[in-house]
Assembly symmetry: C2
Homo-oligomer: 479 residues x 2
Amino acid sequence: MLPFAKATRALVRRLGPALVDTSEEGRWAASFDSSKLSFLPEAVIMPRRHEDIGPVLELANAQGVPVTVRGRGTTLMGSAAPIAGGWVIDMLRLNKVRIDAEAGMAHVQAGAVNAQVQRAAAAAGWFYPPDPASKAYCTIGGNIACNAGGMHGGKYGVTRDFVIALSGYLPTGEWVQWGVATRKFSAGFNLRDLWIGSEGMLGVVTDAVLRLVPAPAARWTLLTAFASEVEAVEAVRALFREVRVQPAICEFLDRDSVHCAERATGRPVFVGQRDRAVVLFELAGSASEVREESKKLLAWAKTHAVAQRVAKNREEAEQLWEVRRKCSGAMFELGDSKLNEDIVVPMRAYSRFMRFLAQLKKSSRLHIPTFGHLADGNLHVNIMFNREDADQARRAEAAVERLMRKVVELGGAISGEHGIGLAKTPFLRIQHSPAQVRAMQAVKAALDPRGILNPGKMFDVFEVWKQEKLNLKLPWDHK
Amino acid sequence: MLPFAKATRALVRRLGPALVDTSEEGRWAASFDSSKLSFLPEAVIMPRRHEDIGPVLELANAQGVPVTVRGRGTTLMGSAAPIAGGWVIDMLRLNKVRIDAEAGMAHVQAGAVNAQVQRAAAAAGWFYPPDPASKAYCTIGGNIACNAGGMHGGKYGVTRDFVIALSGYLPTGEWVQWGVATRKFSAGFNLRDLWIGSEGMLGVVTDAVLRLVPAPAARWTLLTAFASEVEAVEAVRALFREVRVQPAICEFLDRDSVHCAERATGRPVFVGQRDRAVVLFELAGSASEVREESKKLLAWAKTHAVAQRVAKNREEAEQLWEVRRKCSGAMFELGDSKLNEDIVVPMRAYSRFMRFLAQLKKSSRLHIPTFGHLADGNLHVNIMFNREDADQARRAEAAVERLMRKVVELGGAISGEHGIGLAKTPFLRIQHSPAQVRAMQAVKAALDPRGILNPGKMFDVFEVWKQEKLNLKLPWDHK
């Protein structure tokens, strides 16, 4: 007997069977996200209008039914895994997008896909910069839940920097609106931003107003090579310190990541240059702005890099991008399992961090190809191992913990854009003091006193290592 | 006998008399802010190091002593008035500013003055855009408390958009840190942003890391005139819709505001042009960007405005700025009292709002000169009246309430940059539903269970009309 069977029957009566899926297949499909940890819910609700959500929460709150909200489920952290069972609300039907071309805003429903918003904005001459790697799949609601970032973060910012207003539901089922469709709002506590990054634990976002920026008229792409990771990051620091150019994209790949890409393509990234760390730049803006900045950037490259290549057109730019696009999937040659840790380190600590990484690779005897966004310090540290090899798995586990302690010691963050979910719960208290965690938990208890929204996440330590993972390939998985 | 005399004696014992002022003059000086509503505290604490604040709050929390934190007290809303007595913490000694020129960040203490941060940033080639009218006096801590904006909001954003990390104290006296000095952070609930705009009711900010942007190399100033307010705002809407230029500043003045400035200077703003609404533009960016945008903006002005003047240099720009700088002080010719209401309306409602304003001026029989930031819809509606004239005062009171209902009806906000404090408490529930207010109050109770931080603000309706105001001139008062 399922623990919430009675509440589920009441739910079906209230919403009708067209909105509530209690089939085995439907429940299984909603039982996991990209973390591939599966926990069966008792029902999946697929609202057609945001108003369908109020009654679901009202009932869940009255009966104490756990409710997990999901978009496309691309999160690697387990934030959308319904660990306590109960009900899942699937937002994919709520996917409307409307561009206000005059005000430069997008009015979107939570189930709209990030790339869909980007396309709609572009069609109206605007640009929506946040671009998680999964942007062709992931939803704006999910982006808001984990304050997603992407490659444009350094110049433009992350999801939080583009949210103007949110509306949705409190766990009680009451509809609320945080902010209005204007750039300024200073009336009452800022619960809009409290919802952002709260991983669906404080309320259910159904609609968002997003800020857009004028579409950049021009882009310019440059790939640069360096003899070592430390030389690469020190050169980039000099760029930021002395040249004051703000690249839209500034992607770093360490030598291990470059090797992965080279193995995948069968070609060297720079002919005649072996064993190089690379930094890929993209400038974006008006034609004159890009022209001005590209001169400065090229002058910097000529004095700091061992090699550089400028793309003459978009086709050549795509070729320069290949090393970045190919490296991530190719890492699975180094192990069947990847821990993609989206840590952040402050600029002043880049070199220290690179030396630490070299040491971590050595001491863990694991491949740890690392790439990421040098304009904002958000690096993806990919700890590769073979899951069946218990010794490798143990070393990977130990390496993650050392990594997390190091980034906090360096004044950085354990997550820049993925959030905590289940996977990072063992590290939350490395980042946050007991007083900080208590304050967060007090806020949770205040807004969700029965604890129905996404229980088990963030604060409870989840031992992901002891869990069985599903062995399946999702559409957005590499390779 | 003062209600917290015993706690105050314990405070003096704990901190020493050098940090605690219990003199009559000291208490009086901390008894009011720019709202000029005076409530005597029992002691004023002037911390020298942020660590002095923990014990104050610990003691206050244990004894239930109200604590109000103040910077320079420039707020017009009464947010810094210690309405419940108790203790005031004066942050002005905590005023260090350090620029990280490489990362583009300012590390500042809460008592640092906004203009001080702007100057330090400029000296390092960076720019801190938030610029409240009181920027020569107001502190960063106060800016954070009310999420202050200013004229650069449309292009660059408000204080919230520039805060990277905060640290300070919970009402219990525990030190906490929300975020680190990196552009990305997605680890745990976002209490940083919850603190921003919370008017000192949820915690005490002592330190902030602020984001800077590259200092614009060039500026370009244009003044344009229009036959009416509706023509001005419709022309600006066309600019945003069709030309897609992002002016750094886009200041609107209605005809009444222009008349005020003209009376003050004794000169017409545009020779040969009488009775005009004006819009003042400033472009900012790289030389080439400004050149490109200025061409587009001038072409727009020639087809939309009845007159325009371009500044050839900074001196001429200062002349164009005169109308904006002089109008506000000159308004006191129209009445001895001003209600400066920083409402926000969405762009699509600009014309409807202008027609409403014309009607409000007529029906209230009051002067209501209005100016403000057209790029973000944040308008300053200045309701002028003579305080001694009971009938005028009543009409002003009624006009404010009609105004607030109208802006919310139009999808706008009752405050864009001032906050709620005491003065806007009668209108909070026009903006926010009962569920929204309950959620905010639940958050307050969770983080400050004894209610010691800035009690009486935001949620309790304060009848400002029934209060005596101090009759004095503050350094930042106009005229």
